[in-house]
Amino acid sequence: MKTLAALFFLLAATGAAAQTTLLNVSYDPTRELYQEYNAAFARHWQAKTGDKVTIRQSHGGAAKQARAVIDGLDADVVTLALAYDIDEIADKAKLIPADWQKRLPHNSAPYTSTIVFLVRKGNPKNIRDWDDLAKPGIGVVTPNPKTSGGARWNYLAAWAYALKKNGNNDAGAKDFVAAIYRNVPVLDSGARGSLTTFLERGIGDVFLSWENEAFLAIKELGPDRVDIVVPSLSILAEPPITLIDKVADRKGTRKVAEEYLRFWYTPEAQEIAARNFYRPIDPKVAAKYARQFVKVDLIKIDDVFGGWQKAQKTHFADGGVFDQIYLKK
């Protein structure tokens, strides 16, 4: 058995050496998405050039993954949850140019998502919008935005709603968001842990979720346990992708890696995104899946918060607004 395994490993290794291999470092919930996308791209690349390409995947918390790349993980491309993590790769390790996000269309985000509410079946507490989350007696489950990239979108979506409601008054928004976080009984370190707390431990009445994760939860659990509620306003979550220039140049994989990213902007790949519950950016594909994705007023992080760097510094850095919410008691 052991020899067999060794032999298999040897074969796999020699087989891989004869063709190009890319490493895509991604965040946690994109496993299924990239499984499908990688297979499609391998077919596309072979049809176009006759060469074989294998894509290896690495998944984990977005910040952990970015840190691995900064510390020397040989990623040809990264596909992470938010631009801030990729900014850090540019800033700390100088592996990519600072204006990396302008290199591909749509802020380098070929698929998007948003934040929705996952509530218990039948919505017994009648949760309709962000105001309901701030009411006393409602349990809100969301991960800690300081450890979870995804949870930062949740927080900022709530903030954006509060700003609009209070006529762009920061103090009012802070009180509103603080009221929501007073209703949070558990701050897990990551999104999947939070979902477990909500579903398996039965804690809370509403779980703030990425839309694609919410659909995935319903797909896996069946439709009889939870419902999706779409609030009146939410945030446009843009998980960006980029080439890691220095690694790709060193490995000589730039051409195929660039094509790997550009392939996202084809109708075929956009269909894959939509099938995996990410909102496609291609208008035709979006029209086809319009029934799946409820139309909602989506604000952009650049418009309301002046970009990720600024949002991070104001809200999530040590001593930032999120810390202040918990310190004044």
């Binding site: 918390g61 910040a63 952990k64 840190r67 900064i70 850090e88 700390k92 800690n144 300081k146 450890t147 009984p185 558990v186 701050l187 897990d188 370190s189 842990g193 477990t196 398996e200 431990r201 039965g202 804690i203 999530f316 850095a317 040590d318 001593g319 810390d323 918990y326 310190l327 008691k329």
Partner: protein
């Protein structure tokens, strides 16, 4: 220490070689990584260091981390001693099985332990659903942290005390009884002095393990700022913010505190050994 002590002849040769190897090995495995931590901290100014390690949230986490670890180690010292005593002194069916059970917290991946504990202590779990009506919440409170730390620390006490108890002949207790000692006196004057050094070692190991524990605790703690955040979680939080220096600053404080506490325990152990040797 005189040269004569160092040069004392032993049956087996190779003292210099063994000492050299020990120093090299400890440097590679322990000292170099620790000094890298320290070196990263030295990139901070004193003010930045102080601000990082004395923020209110951080102070609250020290209280929880060190407080819960000390209490958990104390609980384990008492009940671990009982478990070891039962395993050594009595014969009963299934003893081998129970003996093996003690090691499970060693072997189990800590995340699995954390998830399992959370599942049974949450409001809808087996134990949690019994405690909740009584107003006792375990999961997602500091009490949950304590439960997890007791769980992972148990084998350390049992496994250090057990061999000492095995060496302690039951005849000693009989002798004490014939000399007129009552049960409490036998325990207090005969058994306890003999096992105390081992018990303190077990306590120290359980404590050290608990202070550094991350995997099992984060699932059950609830991780609320100022209430149920352990220091290792704040270190991870700082890493997620790419604040390497801040993370190592907290690590240095934890290391220094743990080292001082362990030194104190070693001193107590040395004293108890001396008193048990002279009495």
């Amino acid at each position: 220490m005189s040269a004569a002590v160092l040069k004392r002849r032993s049956v087996l040769p190779g003292f210099e070689l063994a000492l050299g190897f020990t120093l090299l090995y400890l440097s590679l495995i322990v000292l170099i990584p620790l000094s890298a931590t320290l070196a990263k901290t030295l990139t901070m100014s004193w003010e930045a260091f102080w601000a990082a390690v004395s923020a209110p949230r951080v102070l609250a986490s020290y209280r929880l981390s060190f407080g819960a670890s000390l209490i958990a180690a104390a609980i384990n010292a008492v009940f671990g001693l009982v478990v070891a005593w039962v395993l050594v002194r009595y014969k009963f069916p299934g003893k081998k099985l129970i003996d093996a059970l003690v090691d499970l917290p060693f072997a189990l991946p800590t995340a699995v332990a954390g998830i399992a504990l959370t599942a049974i202590y949450a409001g809808n779990g087996w134990i949690g659903s019994l405690l909740e009506p009584l107003g006792v919440k375990v999961a997602f409170t500091p009490l949950g942290v304590l439960v997890a730390l007791v769980f992972i620390g148990l084998p350390f006490v049992v496994r250090t005390v057990q061999p000492v108890l095995e060496d302690l002949e039951p005849e000693l207790e009989d002798a004490a009884a014939t000399l007129g000692a009552d049960r409490w006196q036998t325990f207090r004057r005969v058994i306890l002095p003999a096992v105390l050094p081992a018990l303190l070692t077990g306590f120290a190991l359980a404590f050290a393990r608990a202070v550094g524990e991350y995997g099992s605790v984060i699932f059950i703690a609830g991780n609320m700022p100022m209430v149920s955040e352990i220091t290792p979680l704040l270190i991870i939080t700082k890493l997620e913010q790419y604040d390497y220096a801040g993370a190592t600053a907290l690590a240095v404080v934890m290391l220094a505190t743990s080292f001082l506490l362990l030194l104190l325990i070693n001193y107590l152990q040395w004293r108890s050994r001396r008193t048990s040797a002279t009495s």
